[in-house]
């Protein structure tokens, strides 16, 4: 599903160490992969490269068999329709209700109103927010906001879900709930790649762990632990 071949990324004017160095990895369909490592190790760069928010300095990245470096700029949105993203800061639109935030993701890719009116309540039921359709993000707890963010990322049934520190702003109990939800999504066949600092979650879930240090992959362990 995801393949990196000798991928490096460095920033102009940045420090001498590259954000990512000669990374090689193959992630299969339906896998759940934790990216771990200290701050600045390259986890977020890894996520942004997969979503083509940035391009690698060297190497090739394949998503669903396609070399995304060869994609024309007008095709990038179609790539992103197959990749859901969730973030530590949720990135919800404060002036839209929960239902409108989720519907927005379908509306802007031109899905018909009939599809939107069916899929939005269904996905909000999946994330346990059926009773919050008309609430605004400011009225929700952090965990609930992250659930809305997950609903928005998953409503279009993407092949891949990228999560950049999704539990970074949440307390441990709430984080467990979010991880259960991501696990459930993963069981539908969606590949999940999650960057995290949360040792407890990684050690409990026992999934594939890829450790990055100063931009290099230093460990790739099936059913791994944080370190």
């Amino acid at each position: 599903m995801i393949k990196l071949e000798n991928v490096s990324k460095s920033y102009k004017g940045g420090s001498d160490a590259a954000a990512l160095q000669n990374a090689n990895i193959d992630i299969g369909k339906g896998e759940f992969v934790f990216l771990v490592g200290p701050s600045g190790s390259g986890k977020s760069t890894f996520i942004r490269l997969l979503n083509k928010e940035e391009d690698p300095t060297d190497g090739r990245i394949f998503v669903a068999g396609k070399d995304i470096g060869q994609l024309n700029s007008w095709k990038v949105p179609y790539l992103r329709r197959n990749i859901g993203c969730i973030f530590q800061d949720f990135k919800l639109l404060e002036k839209k209700t929960v239902a409108e935030n989720v519907a927005f993701a379908l509306e802007v890719i031109g899905r018909p109103r009939s599809v939107i009116s069916k899929q939005v309540p269904a996905i909000l039921e999946l994330v346990g927010l059926s009773d919050k359709l008309t609430s605004f993000p400011g009225e929700l707890s952090g965990g609930e906001q992250q659930r809305v963010s997950i609903a928005r990322a998953f409503v279009n049934r993407p092949l891949i879900l990228l999560a950049d520190e999704p539990t970074g702003n949440l307390d441990p109990n709430t984080s467990v709930g979010i991880m259960r939800l991501l696990d459930r999504i993963n069981r539908t066949g969606t590949t999940v790649v999650m960057a995290t600092h949360d040792r407890g979650i990684v050690d409990t879930m026992r999934r594939r762990v890829v450790e990055l240090d100063k931009g290099s992959i230093v460990r790739d362990q099936a059913q791994g632990v944080y370190e």
């Binding site: 979503n51 700029s73 007008w74 949105p77 179609y78 790539l79 992103r80 329709r81 197959n82 993203c85 990135k91 639109l93 927005f104 993701a105 509306e107 802007v108 890719i109 031109g110 899905r111 018909p112 109103r113 928005r152 990322a153 279009n156």
Partner: protein
């Protein structure tokens, strides 16, 4: 598709309403600049109509008697052709004069009904080699007493002056209009940049979920287009006012007899309005296109 169009229109409307003061400023600037631009074009049309018979260096017109016989006419034509002081001359028959009259007074059907070709005398429009006023008067006067000639009319200094001044004024208006149009394009650009800034978070989410580049850009471009079209609409209203109250006012003025031919036809007004509308649309699209292509990284 229906949802996309509804979405685009809704977002464009929301953008316009969110920054209503900037929207009004952009529309006013574009309408004033286009009104000046359009009025300059109308003034040119009006003056061209009023002085049509004096264009192309024509310095005097020999009006013939409608009853002049062929020999008298031939004698005048021979004199004009053989004179080394005359560069060229054009014969305007009664039918040609009627066509010209119909063009000039096409908005006055009563007048057109009252005039026939036979009412209009034929004439020769003469371009002398030397346009010096004394030379022209001396040359034209030679024809005054010849058989078959009713009158000789000279392009007076006043007419030349009107042509020169009108040309200068309309050129000045055109330049002011062009400068203001540039200002309007910049204002539209800045309005769109502000709109992009205000919706940065929304745009970020749209990119993340895979909205196409044009889906993100189009509402902003439609906003620029609305500025251009509404601004041009007001400018056209201004041009209609200029024709009614300024140009027609001059032509009706008794004290400005020289300007009685100053008029702009409906066809000319329509034609210039289309120009103004096209320029308004172009300025709106170019301003917003520049904004989205430089400030909206999709």
């Amino acid at each position: 598709m229906a949802l996309k169009i509804t979405y685009m229109l809704r977002e464009t409307g929301t953008n316009l309403k969110r920054r209503i003061s900037l929207t009004i400023a952009a529309i006013l600037t574009i309408s004033i600049s286009l009104a000046l631009f359009g009025s300059a074009l109308l003034a040119r049309d009006g003056v061209a109509n009023a002085t049509a018979r004096w264009e192309g260096g024509i310095e005097f017109v020999i009006w013939m008697n409608p009853e002049a016989d062929a020999d008298q006419d031939a004698a005048i034509r021979r004199s004009l052709d053989e004179s080394p002081a005359i560069q060229s001359s054009t014969y305007v028959s009664q039918d040609d004069a009627l066509v010209e009259f119909q063009d000039m007074f096409m908005d006055s059907p009563d007048l057109l009904d009252a005039v026939e070709a036979a009412d209009l005398p034929p004439s020769y429009r003469v371009v002398p080699v030397d346009p010096d006023a004394d030379v022209v008067v001396e040359l034209g006067s030679q024809f005054l007493n010849q058989p078959g000639v009713r009158d000789v009319v000279f392009a007076s200094e006043a007419i030349k002056d009107i042509q020169t001044q009108a040309d200068r004024i309309s050129r000045g208006l055109l330049w002011v209009g062009v400068v203001l149009l540039f200002a309007a394009a910049l204002l539209i650009l800045n309005t769109i940049v502000v709109a992009i800034g205000a919706r940065r978070q929304e745009i970020e989410v749209m990119k993340l979920v895979g909205a196409s580049n044009w889906f993100i850009r189009l509402p902003f471009m439609l906003e620029g287009l609305v500025h251009g079209i509404v601004g041009a609409g007001f400018a056209v209203l201004g041009m209609v006012g200029v024709r009614r109250y300024v140009i027609d006012g001059f032509s009706e003025s008794q004290s400005l007899a020289l300007l009685e031919g100053l008029r702009v036809t409906d066809a000319e007004l329509f034609n210039r309005s289309l120009w103004v509308l096209a320029i308004g649309i172009a300025v709106g699209i170019l301003g917003s296109l520049f904004a989205v292509s430089t400030k909206l990284d999709v």
